[in-house]
């Protein structure tokens, strides 16, 4: 029997059906998009724990984190003093040294070792500012990893990290 006397109820049914159908289609796209996100094994190494107990003062180790090198440098008192003495406001990428280390642990500098110019890995203990020097196009970074000379636009990035204890660093 046609419901021609009550088009509103008929239309409501169609609208409700269409809406539920649209929800179904929308729900189906979630797995299709999410499967391209990082898988569990990638995420498992997205956070790493580094043993820094063996890193002497003045030494640096490089670890692989999320596919990139990360410098973990145990800075000397001289390095720290130099970094803090700089007039950071006039730098290309203004940042005080205190913003690049954890409070109370300025001797540990943790940075992603990828030049912010075009992505080469800078060399340690080189360059005009006692920090790092990128051989590809001549960017110079200071003892805080800040860009001082050369084509790179930004300071070497500092990732999220935490001290699990005095000898263990967790990056990511």
């Amino acid at each position: 029997m046609a419901d021609t006397t009550n088009p509103d109820r008929r239309d409501f049914l169609y609208i409700a059906t269409g809406a539920v159908g649209a929800v179904a289609v929308g729900a189906m796209t979630v797995p299709l998009i999410d499967q391209m996100n990082a898988s569990a094994d990638t995420l498992a190494v997205s956070q790493i724990r580094v043993d820094i107990g063996q890193v002497a003062v003045g030494q640096q180790i490089t670890v692989l984190w999320r596919g990139k090198p990360v410098f973990v440098r145990h800075r000397t008192e001289v390095d720290i003093a130099e970094a803090e003495a700089v007039d950071w406001q006039v730098l290309r990428d203004p940042q005080p040294d205190s913003a690049r280390v954890h409070a109370g642990r300025p001797e540990w500098l943790v940075m992603v070792g990828v030049c912010t110019h075009l992505g080469c890995v800078p060399l340690a203990d080189r360059g005009d500012y006692d920090g790092w020097f990128c051989p590809c196009h001549g960017s110079h970074y200071d003892t805080s990893g800040r860009i001082r000379k050369g084509p790179a636009p930004d300071n070497l990035p500092v990732p999220d990290y935490a001290f699990i204890n005095d000898t263990t660093l967790e990056i990511g």
């Binding site: 979630v30 797995p31 299709l32 999410d34 499967q35 391209m36 898988s39 569990a40 990638t42």
Partner: protein, 430 residues
């Protein structure tokens, strides 16, 4: 059958497009206004269901392809990576695997529908043959896809089936080695099957377009087998059949989902969770269920005839079992399309279904299993396979031609309109 297009562009943009590439007009004429017989039952929803299955397989396949490694050292592990680590990977994999079974279930129902209502008969012969091409492409695609996880059944199924070619005299072994890329199934086989498995579904898609086009030239058949006589026999495809197809599709999806979420491995074989080992043959090599009838036919011939070896005869029989489908339109001598009005043919149809199911059962069993004994003679599975193979071919080569000639069809309604107004049978004599 050409109809006046009733498409009316609603906006400037639509008029612009219509003057340059009338896709909206084509969509409207083909899937909205298209006059469709008003008496189509639920068996007719399987065409839409099959389109859905093809899209599901392609979409899940592409997402799986983003994570699958097609090297024989990595393939099995990459599938486990998908199942365990990729977000929703388990879901995509199970949908794809169960989807292949659902695809074949739907295609068999779709074909049986076509046989029952005589949809393969003139003027729809080409429509039917295009469908047979799609079936053949599906079988090849499904076979190659099953090899990719590189489990024991993947490897040994590939070995057995590619060895079929060695049955061809003289050129058989060179063909097999060319196909397989070496002396035995191995990494080259896997990599090329992956490339082809990715390609063929798009070929299937193209043939589906031809199939639907051919359908639209002749118009749909319908349960009475009587051609459409005028607009009183039809309704526009939209909304009448869009809503019915959608309902049928959701019921199908319920079955699909039940398997995916609650019994995803029920249609598969446990041996495929064992990594492929060329040194160890599984006790029973079986293909997936939808290939079992063909497998049974392949194994059913165990005697040589003249210079033709049993192995070659089995291969010929298996190929013939698909080729015979192509020539169905010319084997059937009946003038009446629908089995509704063919009382002599109808029981043979249902027997034929039983024969196909029986062949599937035989394909899964060991050939020398004894069913019963008559004195000294043991009737084994392989004998049943031969009996059912003979019955299968008899349906096409004996029954179809003969029954068409001998049969007296039941009285038929004058038109579709009449059949729906007065129920299935025409008005009784007053």
């Amino acid at each position: 059958m050409s109809h006046e297009s009733t498409y009316q562009p609603n906006s400037g943009a639509e008029r612009w497009l219509d003057a340059r590439l009338p896709v909206l007009r084509l969509m409207h004429d083909s899937f909205s206004a298209f006059p469709t017989p008003k008496n189509l039952n639920y068996w007719y929803t399987f065409g839409g269901i099959l389109t859905f299955c093809l899209i599901v397989q392609i979409v899940t396949g592409i997402t799986l392809a983003m994570h699958f490694a097609s090297d024989s050292k990595l393939a099995f592990a990459s599938v486990e990576h998908i199942m365990r680590d990729v977000n929703f990977g388990w879901l995509l994999r199970y949908i794809h695997a169960v989807g292949a079974s659902m695809f074949f279930l739907a295609v068999f129902i779709h074909m049986f529908r076509g046989i029952y209502y005589g949809s393969y008969k003139a003027p729809r012969e080409l429509l039917w043959m295009l469908g047979c091409v799609i079936l053949l492409l599906m079988i090849i695609t499904g076979f190659m896809g099953y090899v990719l996880p590189w489990g024991q059944m993947s490897f040994w199924g590939a070995t057995v089936i590619t060895n079929i070619f060695t049955a061809i005299p003289v050129i058989g072994t060179p063909i097999q080695e060319w196909l397989v890329g070496g002396f035995a199934v191995g990494n080259p086989t896997l990599t090329r099957f992956y490339a082809l498995h990715y390609l063929l579904p798009f070929v299937i898609f193209g043939v589906v377009l031809l199939h639907v086009w051919a359908l639209h030239v002749t118009g749909n058949n319908n349960p009475t087998g009587i051609e459409v006589k005028g607009p009183q026999d039809t309704v526009p495809f939209n909304p009448y059949y869009t809503v019915k197809d959608a309902f049928g599709l959701v019921l199908f999806m319920l079955v699909f989902a039940a398997f995916v979420f609650f019994a995803p491995n029920a249609l598969g074989h446990p041996d495929n969770y064992i990594p492929a080992n060329p040194m160890v043959t599984p006790e029973h090599i079986v293909p997936e269920w939808y290939l079992l009838p063909f497998y049974a036919i392949l194994r059913s011939i165990t005697f040589d005839i003249w210079f033709l070896s049993a192995k070659l005869l089995g291969v010929i029989a298996m190929v013939a079992s698909i080729v015979v489908l192509f020539i169905m339109p010319w084997l059937d001598t009946s003038k009446v399309k629908s089995l509704r009005y063919r009382p002599m043919m109808r029981p043979f149809f249902f027997l034929f279904i039983l024969v196909c199911i029986g062949l599937g059962w035989v394909g899964a069993e060991t050939p020398d299993k004894v069913l019963f004994a008559l004195g000294d003679f043991q009737y084994q599975m392989v004998h049943l396979g031969l009996t059912l193979t003979a019955a299968y071919f008899a349906y096409f080569l004996v029954i179809l031609p003969l029954v068409g000639i001998l049969e007296k069809p039941s009285p038929m309604p004058a038109s579709i309109e009449e059949s729906v107004l007065k129920g299935r049978k025409p008005a009784q004599a007053a």
